[in-house]
Amino acid sequence: MSYPLEIQALCRRYGGTVALDHVDLVIEEGAVLGLIGRNGAGKTTLIRHVLGLLKAQSGSVRVFGADPVKHPAQTLARIGYVSEDRDLPGWMRIEELLRYTRAFFPDWDETLASDLCRAFDLDPRQRVRTLSRGQHVRTALVLALAPRPALLVLDEPSSGLDPVVRRDVLEAVIQHVAHEGRTVLFSSHLLDEVERVSDHLVMIDRGTMLVDGPMDEVVEGFKHVVYRHAEDSNGSGFGALPGMSLCVEMGSTSSGAASSGAPSSDSASRNSIDHEVLCLCRFETSVDEHALAAQASAGGFELIEILPATLDEIFLNLTCRAS
């Protein structure tokens, strides 16, 4: 069975800089994959591999089972792409651009293109170079959606845009997926957007994948945990508790005084007697608070509180930890 996108052990270096380091990724049909990461994390490099604009130095990339470098016509015909750059030819009018692009896609939906132009209030006679950034993105979105692509690739389409255009972009993506069950690869800095539309999340930093999993599982799997340990123990064993795959210390209090910058919960500050630690933990399975408290107790820890973590917090803590 061929997936819309299948990446295996993909590596890319630019001189001494590692842009992608053994990236493995599979997107199933109908999924919306949110790709998040800091600037220079490797998101665009990954997307350029998907489009066949970069050749894998090692590893492999398959789009619908085909290598996009060896079969660019076959793969690009099934991909709709919106770039973060203003790269549409400025001298063309929108109507010319639509007609030009239509020639490359046999499945071009003229009605959809017209509807989207009308919905986005695009003037077909306007030249691309006179478009605002928002109009430019909307035009690019029309060009990407009208061929009804099997895979829609959006590379930070909404950075620097006002909320109205961002809403347009998101609605178009949602409609594209909801009505047609197409696959979307959505790269963005705006985590709330990613959380809203994606059902699968990939977090990348310095070319390494930090998180890869269904959005619900990722958000559910990460928790803020406040625990206490005796002053004479170093507290390093908490992360080794069963069912926990990751434990990042965000801050601790000792004798009631905060010792590091990350925010600690009120309860943690209030009850500090020995050492209270706030950490971000990832659990492999759903968290059973009582079982965890018992396990912690057996290890010499006192579990104080488990709080949900937002995607923002997960992102900030993991990327800061990585750096």
Partner: protein
Amino acid sequence: MNSFGAARALGWEYYRMSRRSVPMVTLAGCSLAGLYWIALEPFGARRESLVFSAVFGTLLIVHGMTLLNCRSEGLALGFERRLYRLPMSTPGLVIWRMVPAALLGAAMYLATAGFMKLVLGTRWPVLGPTAISITCLVWMLALNWSLGRRPYLLAPVGLAVAVPFVLWLKPRFQPGAGELMANWGDFGAMDLVLLALAVLMAVMVAIVGVRADRAEPRTLQSLVARNRVGGRRAPISETMPRRKSRSRAGFRSATGAQLWMEWREKGVWVSLWAALGLIFCALAGGFPEFLAGPTLRNGLLFIAMLLVLAPPAAGFLHGRSNLSSRDSMLDRVRATRPLSDRTLAMTLLLATFVTTAAAWLVAILTLTGVFVVTWLWGDTAKVEEIVEGLRLALQHSAPADLALAGLLMIGFCVAASGLPLSLVLSGRSRLTEGLAAPYVLVILGLIFERITGSDAWRRLLPYPAVMMLTMIPVASGVCAWLCYRRGHYSLRALIRGGLAFVTLAILLVFRFPFLQQAFVPGGLPFERAVAYAAPATLSAAFLPFVLAPLMLAWNRHR
């Protein structure tokens, strides 16, 4: 931003934009002038006519490059709009953009003149052409910047500006005036004052035009675009009568669409450049003097030069996605077209041929116009003599010979445009800069010949031709094998191509017996180089078809 700091910043930016192209353009100017002087003089062209052609040919190259540097977007007309964001007055922007351009243009011309004087020992006019160069350049920039939004006014306004200039220039090119340097030697203070006034006018025109452009809303349409239709704000598309667009009917194929894009974006400019160059050349000489006797022949030489220059110019333009950046990586729009590497490369190759054909058509139409005007108002006997010569030549040529001559011409077009295109398509600037190598060889040869006084260079000339004849089929074979390995061509297609090449080569050798002299052992006289050049051209014509897909893939999938 203080004025001096701004001037320095803009000057530095201009230098950064042109630091790589300036040496190449200067080299091209020098080689053009040198070629005119050394290669064409033995064919009977008059010294003063040669100076005239070389001076204006050089200026044309210099001006073309300067305009390319001062463009607003791609090859679009108008002032660079990104500069409007700078906290500078409009006169400041205009002047500090014009000054480095004019200085650079003048410097490149001076370099050419210096080369002619120091290396070839030729008396070469300096002051007059330099002053004229600056004047032409600032006027071209002023018209470009002022009429960027109304390009249809460019031709009539340009003509209105050119006519008084030509009337002033014309007496300097009176036929039979003897040594042309004498004319340029008359270039005095009054001429300088006149040209300075013309420069001042150009600056004023540019300031007014750029100021209007800077203050104007984004488009004229936007002033009237938002009309109310049925109580709602309607886009202009609903309120204005629809103008028929050529592409409205849609394209028959993806390659047709890409071809249209290439033509609209680049091809049309090459033809326009050719037309403007020819009109400028004709106007500068002035009718009908320009068309009389030896000057007519010189004009024909200029057109011949255009025929030679148009294919590489077209190849270079179509090969580069981004004309402003040094990195000629394939742009995102082209790179993400759902076309295979071979199809995309072949479409670009086809666009290059179309552009070359259009430029040639412009040249041929102009040539026909020159003949007609000369016949009506100039040297009628000369035109009738040329036409009769042509008629006799056609009468005595067998259709097969004509067909093969046509084939060679097409071969030249394909090779001269396709090889630069293929190299530029690689997106590697070092390889592109290697295009200057033939020019460097020519210049070195000229210098060597001038210093030693021997004709060794001319005797050496056949050897590169022999090398080319040997190397090109080998390179074609290697590229064909790589194309097959990478799936750009099937084995069947390659065998067909190879068979066509062998058939044509055999046909050429047997049809033109003089070609067989090339294979006779012994020395390699100059004339025999021609014998080598013909099959070399033919084999070079096959190379782009296998080289371009490889280079494009190298650039597209990095």
